[in-house]
């Protein structure tokens, strides 16, 4: 899914919700996943003027889950450990986006190359 403007965020959140409902994810986990997704997509629009998001249903053993991969070609993050710290921001926000999103999902992975872009991938298991 291609994200370029703010209104796309609402559409994207609805799409994620559809998938979460489809695999029977509970309301609390749904809310956590969508909130985390919302934080990450905002980062993408704000710092990289948009990007591409992949929504996948995955399974491990008997557990189903949803994986979201956010890929942008923005400026990249020079210091990831610092960016993952609560309260750190280069913008004017609260600095909760990345660390907050990580707390809300089951698995969180971030890769970034300065000048080339950032890829964040999150997994939320149905019962995780």
């Amino acid at each position: 899914m291609l994200i370029v403007k703010e209104q796309d965020v609402v559409l994207f959140r609805n799409r994620v919700k559809e998938y979460a409902v489809k695999i029977g994810m509970g309301l609390v986990n749904q809310t956590k996943l969508i909130t985390a997704a919302s934080e990450l997509v905002r980062n993408m629009i704000k710092y990289a003027s948009g990007g591409v998001i992949l929504i996948e249903v995955i399974s491990k053993g008997r557990e189903n889950g949803i994986r979201l991969t956010f890929k942008d070609q923005g400026p990249g993050i020079p210091n990831i450990p610092l960016a993952m710290k609560d309260g750190f921001t280069t913008g004017k926000s609260l600095g909760l986006g990345l660390p907050g999103a990580k707390r809300l999902v089951s698995e969180f992975d971030i890769k970034s190359i300065v000048g080339e872009g950032t890829t964040v991938s999150i997994i939320k298991w149905k019962n995780g």
């Binding site: 703010e6 965020v9 959140r13 609390v28 956590k32 909130t35 934080e39 926000s93 909760l96 907050g100």
Partner: protein, 133 residues
Amino acid sequence: MDKIPILRMGRFLLVTIQVDLYDRLALNLESDLVQMVSKTGANGVLIDISALSIVDSFMGRILGNIGSMSKILDAETVVVGMQPAVAITLIELGLELKGVHTALNVEKGMELLQTKMGLIQENEEGTGDSRVE
């Protein structure tokens, strides 16, 4: 351009957010609301978020901002109707919604605002040396 309506009810302003917000819409609400508080001299702002399926850090910050800005303009803010899943998510995200009061539903929120107004009035009518928080 979408807009969130702000209703005036006596000394209070009432906002019911019925759509999922994107950032610009939330920012517009913030500035509209603060201007309305200043224009009408309202003493209370009630924001109903029962239709919001998520509140992320941005929306949380906007709610906090509205609370602080209204406070400076002498109006209390109450956020009502938060869904349980949203409350769980907010705390895990690390957001505590400081600066705004919360109530379970619109009715309780109204009561809270009225009590606050009542306390302030009593205080003004009294000797003036006791402060009620």
